[in-house]
């Protein structure tokens, strides 16, 4: 009798523990719920590229270069965006320019009405410059850091696949172009000739 009570108590304990430990549902039901609530970085990125880039607030490139040459720290703190405690600030800039050289990784341009040079990336499109420069996402809004990181991954993919190739195919030395893109500025070791624009818009003027 004692043994029976002991075993019954054990079975009861396991049953109560299991009841409070797990719940069982249909997998399809769960997947449907997840797809409604989960963040889709691909959709988020393509919506940004398709609908928001043309209206995206940007700084005129020549003025930007002049300002960061004067006082990079104070200008960056006022007009740039940075992630955490980094010394890197991000900006969206735009401008008209003439193509000087076409290299494997970059197109070097001279800004209109000046001799100032700038590199526009056509290969190795990586990093968070666009996400941070456009201030399009706040890390605090994402419980999952992967979602946050994936925004940059997807945007860079779109730039790599949709924005750069048509430009790269038709650009020639001497072309006049319009560009809009993101740049990273390090306030501790900034040199204007190392600035590299990750493009969001690239138009060759006829």
């Amino acid at each position: 009798m004692k043994k029976l009570i002991k075993y019954l108590a054990i079975v009861l304990f396991i049953a109560i523990s299991l009841y409070n430990s797990i719940y069982i549902k249909d997998l399809d039901e769960i997947k449907a719920e997840k797809s409604k609530t989960s963040f889709n970085s691909k959709v988020f990125a393509s919506e940004f590229i398709e609908n928001k880039v043309s209206d995206l607030k940007a700084i005129e490139a020549l003025g930007f270069l002049n300002e960061i040459s004067k006082n990079v720290k104070s200008y960056s703190e006022t007009h740039g965006n940075k992630l955490g405690i980094s010394n890197d600030y991000y900006f969206i800039i735009y401008g008209n320019a003439t193509v000087l050289t076409i290299e494997d990784e970059d197109v070097v341009v001279a800004l209109a009405k000046s001799q100032q040079k700038l590199k526009i990336a056509i290969d190795f499109i990586f990093g968070n410059a666009i996400r941070e420069g456009a201030k399009m996402a706040n890390i605090g809004d994402y419980q999952n850091t992967m979602d946050y990181n994936n925004i940059s991954v997807e945007i860079n993919n779109l730039v790599r696949e949709n924005i750069v190739p048509p430009f790269r195919r038709s650009v020639k030395i001497g072309d006049s172009i319009y560009f809009k893109g993101a740049v990273r500025v390090n306030v501790l070791k900034q040199k204007n000739d190392t600035l590299r624009v990750i493009p969001l818009q690239l138009n060759i003027k006829s």
């Binding site: 409070n20 069982i24 549902k25 419980q143 999952n144």
Partner: protein, 322 residues
């Protein structure tokens, strides 16, 4: 003077702790504050959980190098089950886990891996150092597989309460640690099982001849060490609200340090849970004090190493025959 020596030896950890605390209180006005006290208690809670398990293992003349990896794997299991559950596409079934369920699963995983360690050591006669070294790698690899190499984050407020919440004016990790410590003190001091642990560490052959089932006791000891590593894993994951695939790296060394500083003999059979708690406290106080005094992290490591050496030398001097 001769009458004082046994007391000095017996209470050497407490004396060191008191002297250390007094010196740090003089050197930094931020050290002896309630806030810093709770900080130290929270910080050492994970190490205490692991070290208590390690003490049992070392008392049997063994060693468990896998506790850091088991901590990471158990934490990842809890986080993964809580966040993603288990999917069985063949039967179109999803099994979701509550916080309670995820914690139980994590503890069970820690325990099972501990049993595996014990079986390797007792049934296949693999030396504890090698068996647990292998488990260190296996569990780390399993963690990477389970997490895909990425942290699992966003585990919810209920789970976060375990590592960051307060209950009756005391942080939750400290409550959990207290329960673990009291449980193991009772286990070692008041039960037959505890006496068998000391007997095996003191003289394994004599223990076997006196009828103690050595293999069974050792398997249980490694299972408890694995489960306590899992407790540490749950606390750490909850504190960070994230299961990191590389969590717990080097924790096995911190726990061995706490055990040794606490006076447990690496040759087994002698030591106590209370001593280990004191050892972990000394390391915690030392860490906190060195940070408050702005000592370089490189120097901190050197100082901690020297403290461990001094502890072992003192143990040797006090017990020359051991």
């Amino acid at each position: 003077m001769a009458n004082i020596k046994p007391y000095l030896v017996k209470f050497q950890s407490i004396i060191v702790l008191l002297i250390l605390s007094m010196v740090l209180t003089i050197l930094s006005d931020k050290f002896f504050t309630l806030e810093n006290g709770w900080n130290i208690a929270r910080q050492i809670s994970i190490n205490v959980c692991i070290s208590v398990g390690m003490t049992l293992v070392i008392l049997t003349k063994g060693i468990d190098l896998s506790v850091g990896s088991l901590l990471a794997f158990s934490g990842a299991i809890a986080a993964g089950l809580l966040k993603f559950g288990l999917e069985f596409p063949v039967s179109n079934t999803f099994i979701g886990f509550t916080v309670f369920g995820a914690i139980i699963a994590a503890l069970m995983v820690g325990g099972v891996f501990g049993v595996f360690n014990g079986l390797m050591i007792t049934k296949f006669k693999v030396p504890p150092f090698v068996a647990t070294l292998a488990m260190l790698t296996i569990a780390r690899g399993a963690t990477m597989l389970w997490t895909g190499g990425f942290p699992i984050t966003g585990l919810g407020n209920n789970f976060a309460f375990i590592g960051t919440g307060w209950f009756l004016g005391m942080p939750m990790p400290v409550w959990i640690t207290l329960v673990v410590v009291v449980f193991t003190i009772v286990l070692t001091k008041k039960t037959k099982f505890g006496r068998h642990i000391y007997a095996i560490g003191g003289n394994e052959s004599a223990a076997r001849l006196s009828g103690i089932n050595i293999n069974k006791i050792k398997i249980w000891v490694y299972a408890i060490a694995g489960t306590l590593a899992a407790v540490g894993g749950v606390i750490l994951t909850s504190r960070l609200d994230s299961a990191q695939p590389n969590a717990g790296m080097g924790y096995e060394l911190d726990s061995i340090a706490a055990v040794v500083i606490g006076g447990t003999s690496l040759s087994g059979g002698r030591g106590s849970i209370v001593g280990t708690v004191q050892g972990a406290l000394i390391i915690g106080v030392l860490n906190s004090g060195l940070v408050l005094l702005n000592v370089s992290p490189f120097w901190q490591q050197i100082i901690k190493g020297l403290v461990i050496l001094i502890a072992v030398i003192m143990d040797r001097l006090n017990n020359p025959n051991n």
